[in-house]
Symmetry: C2
Subunit: 421 residues, 2 copies
């Protein structure tokens, strides 16, 4: 089998993989207040306008705006305050021309009023202790001024959220405000994770000579969790085609996606390709991504389920899973447009060499430059070195078409800790 | 009581509040693989070097580098391959000068070797089917080349993570790689949330005339969760000093932090100040933050626990909680340096007016500009309108010292969905 007959640029690789994926079914209905970070399964329309009644945006007096026209500090309008609208109650006060009612911020406006005069633009005429009393209005208000209109926040039956929307705190608020206390969301995809390698032992074991602890299972699991998936750890499988084939089949049967973290030798990669091909159709889609680190990543789809073979090097594995696996998990939740990555701008501390035709990712630490800006300091190291990522705040991306970056250049760093990783 | 005797710029307000806070105690010890998003309680040192043995970074041959000096395509060096180091096993092969051993990526290097020649720089001499066999080396290697040295990733006893570090997937990997399967982390702070207001009803209720549903409890709870806290919903308290005082006392006794989402009228704000003062020392620290939306935010500390009185308007409440409450939750977990916000750069679609001396936050939607960049479209609306946040991808910040932003300006948007909200 040719080793890299299908090495794609990262954007093409991702698009190819995503084009085969749709939301896992069935969706589920859960309480809105528990839906943070979940993804809407259907488009949602508002069952009511918001607000349902005209509300004051100020502490002041509900008035007929026409009664204030021309009012100024030197020539105030005089109004008689005939009542008060209590918070949380109907505004059952019928205002006549020349009359006003006390209203509080957020309170209801009487039907006969059309504006609110803020209390700081009025003056109570001295010597009056109870209703009715008289006020001077020192500034005119226009019709509708300081009033929140019915449906001003959202109209009845408006589409308030599309399907495939990742729910944030404000979205829960928007849903609850219109009484939507349950919401249909995508099921969280189950992502099976297998580690392979005769040299790999569980982290709790003491590795013997030539052995190392499995960490890719756990870094991958963390990224799965952050993307909204449920990691299902399948343990360590020996470097043996039949063993891996059997383990992969069983894992995929009980999951929506499979990730195999293989070793990095050529024979192990070929084995992963063979195992994916053996799982079903359409099988392997790509044999590599034109990036460093991480070129030898294998991605395929079996019966609508993504299957990814990651390189064994922990840095390569994370960079590649971020590039292909995390978007796949979002897509399995029905997310149509991938969330944006958070960036920060910083000045590069030193030259970075790269190769045109390949996307390079370099770990970087951010330091204050003492002038209100940031300096990005590359954390160089072989892609086996997990601490190049532990000691970093984000990744520098050198685009496909650039042959490197120069010291002093203003660049954007992909910040860890956002939607992706 | 003077209404705003202590209105601070946002950075000063946050620093003042944080200066009174330390990590909640006691910390707890949990499995490392469950520690994603938790915060280290102590500095962690490595109990071993990583790796513990010299590893090959290539598929190839372990050699004595000196045997390859001067080798080239036209004048190759001839070496005798005398064995193979199996993955996951000790490299018990004693190489003599002129000898080599097959090694795989990640495999152990024999003690008598000091470099690895990649397989693609060698050629097997034809007609040999079993060990020992002869190879031609077409390119010299230097001592140490293609070899990962003991401790190259992390040295024995090196500080691998500081206290107060927010754990990411790669950090779990770094800890597990050196056998740290349990980790001491800060307890997740319990954040009590009370809503006040005679007009406020629970979301599942049908609001009567003049009534609205409580949403601030739930938007706040979502932000608490994303920051690593545990929201404890205390429900809705009537606009009554004694009722609020009692509810606040009980809530604070069982929590590490208290958030009260009050109404927005002056009387309600004054009541919140009185309640915080009545809870204990030092009490109220600030009576407002120089921002829009959200100026009338009250923040204090009682017995080391932060107490925050948010404005009733949902947008103000979220912006202010992001500014003061979220950093407080991180600090209660011992986070020393606040996580950075993810930003994206975009060109502003229209002018934004502001006032110097005040930090303004405007919701913005991001649109592709058709030329590979982004356009930020402000979502204007009164601070009562939760849908100005639902329909936005992030916030535009107009700094204290600017009187606005101009259409066409390249600006940075604080992206929703990161460390903060």
């Amino acid at each position: 089998m040719p080793e890299f007959f299908n090495v794609l640029p990262p954007d093409d690789a991702r698009e190819l993989l995503l084009s085969h994926l749709t939301a896992v079914l069935p969706s589920e209905i859960i309480p809105t207040q528990d839906a943070l970070g979940r993804v809407t399964a259907v488009r949602i329309h508002s069952p009511q306008p918001l607000p349902t009644f005209r509300r004051s945006t100020m502490d002041g007096y509900a008035v007929k705006a026409a009664d204030t026209y021309g009012a100024s500090g030197s020539l105030p309008a005089f109004l008689q305050v005939v009542g008060e609208v209590p918070m949380g109650q109907a505004a059952n006060i019928a205002l006549q021309s020349g009359q006003a009612a006390i209203v509080h911020t957020g309170g209801m406006i009487p039907e006969t009023a059309d504006a609110v005069v803020p209390v700081e633009h009025t003056q109570k005429i001295a010597g009056q202790s109870s209703l009715p009393f008289e006020i001077e209005v020192m500034k005119a208000v226009a019709v509708g001024q300081n009033v929140l209109q019915i449906g001003e926040d959202v109209r009845l039956d408006a589409e308030i959220l599309p399907a495939g929307h990742w729910l944030r705190p404000q979205d829960l608020g928007g849903l609850l405000a219109v009484g939507i206390t349950k919401v249909a969301v995508a099921r969280r995809p189950r992502v099976a994770i297998l580690a392979t390698g005769d040299e790999v032992v569980a982290p709790a074991q003491s590795p013997g000579p030539g052995q190392i602890r499995d960490i890719n299972s756990f870094t991958t699991a963390g990224m799965v969790t952050r993307a909204g998936g449920i990691p299902v750890l399948g343990g360590i499988v020996p470097d043996n085609f039949q063993a891996l084939q059997t383990a992969a089949q069983e894992a995929l049967a009980n999951a929506d996606m499979l990730v195999m973290s293989a070793g990095s030798s050529v024979s192990v990669r070929d084995m992963t390709v063979g195992v994916i091909e053996g799982l079903g159709e359409p099988g392997v889609l790509l044999h590599g991504v034109a990036t460093r680190p991480g070129k030898p990543t294998i991605a395929g789809v079996v019966g609508g389920k993504p299957v990814i073979g990651l390189p064994g090097n922990p840095v390569s594995a994370m960079v590649q899973f971020d590039m292909l696996g995390v978007p796949a998990i979002y897509r399995l939740q029905g997310v149509a447009t991938m969330p944006r990555r958070g960036l920060v701008r910083a000045r590069l501390s030193q030259n970075i060499a790269s190769e045109s035709g390949r996307e390079d990712y370099i770990s970087a630490r951010l330091e204050d430059d003492g002038a209100g800006g940031l300096t990005a300091v590359p954390v160089f190291g072989k892609s086996n070195l997990i601490y190049t990522l532990v000691n970093a705040d984000g990744l520098i991306k050198v685009p496909l078409n650039k042959a490197g970056l120069l010291a002093g250049e203003q660049i954007e760093i992909q910040l860890f800790g956002g939607h992706f990783w």
